[in-house]
Symmetry: C2
Subunit: 456 residues, 2 copies
């Protein structure tokens, strides 16, 4: 049994939804179908979720919402018409939206959540109606009825494991289940949307709870690429990678999955396949627990900018037990997560994502480090990029760091930081942002173009 | 005005002390002469300090001490005879030792300190007597009279800055001052020995307090070598390096200076010169604040074994603010200092000197990390070596990491850890201990033999 999730572009129009139906029909083991809200049909199009947010914001301000309301309904209407459905389903959606707009506006967060979630919820109803219309045994499933429980912390909504037993029963329900992504319910029945990972999380949760043989995540690319196609020309696709590789790539700019989305599938070792709704015959990228890595020590190269570094220097620092801990404590008190902590003998740097900093925080951290740690020098620099080479077994591959560092040297750029030694699957280079693109191109050439030549 | 310190081998015999006198006479600016206790005259010889420790231990156990007492006195007697001094100075030393042995044995630490310090103290008296004997205007100076104040923490004896003003007056005293290294006095007049750095610290302190133009540290090598001469054949000597380079080299196995010893000189930017008593014409190694590093980005390569690594892995770790801090807190509570903390996305390693660990501590740390941090995997491995490339400006030198990593790759060894990015002056490779020697040889060849060829 497979769980399939179709993202926004895969369910943005009637034509796309027809492809979805075809994909589901082709493989009878595709049983649980998680759907997003209709996404963009073309570059300048608006996602239904964005329309819903505008609608909710107007309603919260007490303004007239007729235009936005009609716009949302029109999208579903157009899809229903294209699918040859009667307008009955559009009435259902319209009534549903009226009901949501009648909710109490005094709790703005709950009101917003409830409207946003309607994008997925109504699309699931519509797609279930279409599946039935073309003769498939399909049923819409409400997450509340299914038991998709979430916690009570609106700032960080996460699924509760208590829901798993009930969700597991979806396996035994007859027919195809069409399940809206993006939201669940607290134990007291309040609707909450996931703030991170959206429908991907729903699919991952259901695949884990039902112990699916595969979680298929349908999107609009044939596979995950070994490097950013906006930087590298025609990068190769990745056939198979491990969860760890996916995590490391996602961390530094690979946007296929939000990193939390994979967690439930990872915990139960459910394989995940990323496939293209527009080209379902392509094998896609399979994400698994283990792979044979001898053939290819580097599977992908990610790059991300926007890093700052906090440098602290104090003579004989390394004899002071607790120095590093105190520095991290200051960052913790300022609510700043950190990425890496390269260290010398008398100095320690902390690599931070610049988005967590502002001028006030920077000044306060520098002052506190000087005063509380009695440091000799403290300063903060920005405009760094991290380039991450990812691949299982990388650490055991002799000469890999040498190849990477030599490729960087060929670009004339200097390496500001190297971090290797904890992760078995990544090697991180910190460089100046201005050098990021040329280094990424050169590393790609080193690890993907050369080996292609060698294997021919 | 210069402060000169002569180490144990430089003052081990009458012949050596004659060389010292010659060195002091050659340069009239050599004013403050700090001396160690007589060291080894040949490989299997015993240092006077070790004889004194045996003497003190026997006395503390209430055993007969005559043999050890005589052995110590005999060493001074032999030196005095060799220098043509009357036996008066030997009586002074004998009486001094009798006095120290009559101290209260109930405070074993104080008793031991007082006897150990006699090695330097009596040697200073003897050398001052010899200088006078050959017509030099020289005077023994007692650290108590000079104002060398130390703190009250016997587990970590350090000089107090309160003593500096009085020590500075040594500059204006007439003649040559012969000053015993290794000990000072607390404000209530109790003698305390430095537990780290010995006479080197005394010299460094006096050079700083008197604002000497140079602190000359005489030992038995022509210079500091670029790599361990026990591993690399005939390594080149280092002409000039910075304090930071010295610190980084000292950290990983270079034993010229204990790292604390340089601190006072460093704080006041006093240049330090390491010279050879047996070959005073050799220029030695000068340690300064800044050097022009363009000619030579790598100045030395150090290697040290005995490192362990604690690995902790938890899915989504990097989203948990405070995770790293909590791990370091556990180590702090176990009183374990750490060296480096390489990190991946979902994992963090801590490099620790194995000497701070034992089976109990290891098991407790692993258990606590699992339980308190709810980590997925925690394990501890040992038998790592750290190889440190040291050189100012290294970070700005394009291709240096590539050259180093390529040299390591040529040995067939895999790199377990790379740490670069905080220190401007070092690049650290963690490797398996079994690979340490071959890597050190290959790195030396890369950075010292190749460039020699290039410059010819």
């Amino acid at each position: 049994m497979k769980v399939c999730k179709f993202g926004g572009t895969s369910v943005a129009s009637s034509d796309q939804i027809k492809k979805v139906a075809q994909i589901v029909k082709t493989d009878p083991s595709r049983k649980i179908i998680v759907v997003s809200a209709p996404g963009k049909r073309f570059g300048s199009d608006e996602k239904v979720t964005d329309l819903l947010i505008q609608l909710a914001e107007k309603a919260l301000r007490g303004e007239d919402t007729e235009i936005e309301f009609k716009e949302v309904v029109a999208r579903y209407q157009q899809i229903a018409a294209g699918l040859g459905l009667s307008m009955e389903i559009v009435s259902v959606i319209e009534n549903d939206l009226h009901g949501r707009l009648a909710n109490d506006v005094n709790d703005a967060n709950l009101f917003m959540d409830c409207l946003k979630a309607s994008g997925e919820d109504n699309n699931a109803k519509l797609i279930a109606a279409y599946f039935t219309h073309i003769g498939m045994d399909a049923h819409y499933m409400c997450p509340k009825e299914a038991g998709l429980l979430v916690n009570e912390r609106p700032e960080r909504v996460r699924a509760l494991p208590e829901g798993d037993d009930q969700l597991a029963q979806l396996r035994d329900k007859p027919g195809i289940i069409v399940f809206p992504g993006f939201f669940g319910y607290t134990t007291d029945g309040t609707l909450r949307t996931f703030n991170r990972g959206g429908s991907d999380i729903t699919g991952s949760l259901l695949a884990a709870a039902t112990e699916a043989e595969l979680y298929e995540n349908f999107t609009d690319v044939d596979s995950v690429f070994a490097a950013n196609p906006n930087v590298v020309d025609n990068p190769v696709g990745i056939d198979k990678m491990t969860y760890r590789e996916m995590r490391e790539l996602a961390y530094a700019g690979f946007s296929v999955f939000h990193d939390e989305a994979l967690m439930p599938a990872f915990r139960r070792s459910i394989p995940v396949c990323i496939k293209n709704t527009n080209n379902p015959e392509a094998p896609g990228t399979l994400i698994v627990n283990e792979r044979n890595y001898f053939a290819q020590p580097v599977i992908g190269i990610a790059a991300d900018s926007g890093f700052s570094t906090l440098f602290v220097d104090k003579y004989l620092m390394n004899q002071e037990i607790g120095f590093g801990r105190k520095l991290l404590q200051i960052l913790e008190e300022e609510e700043i997560p950190f990425e890496h902590t390269p260290s010398g003998i008398d100095n320690l740097s902390v690599i931070i994502r610049s988005k967590f900093l502002n001028a006030d925080k920077e000044a306060r951290i520098v002052r506190r480090a000087k005063e509380e740690l009695n440091a000799d020098h403290v300063h903060m620099h920005s405009n760094y990029s991290m380039i991450v080479l990812v691949g299982e077994g990388m650490r055991h591959s002799t000469g890999l760091a040498a190849r990477a560092a030599s490729a960087i040297a060929r670009t004339g750029a200097s390496i500001q930081m190297i971090n290797q030694g904890s992760s078995e699957v990544s090697l991180v280079f910190g460089v100046h942002k201005k050098d990021e693109t040329k280094i990424l191109k050169e590393l790609y050439a080193e690890f993907f173009l050369k080996s292609a030549v060698l294997s021919n």
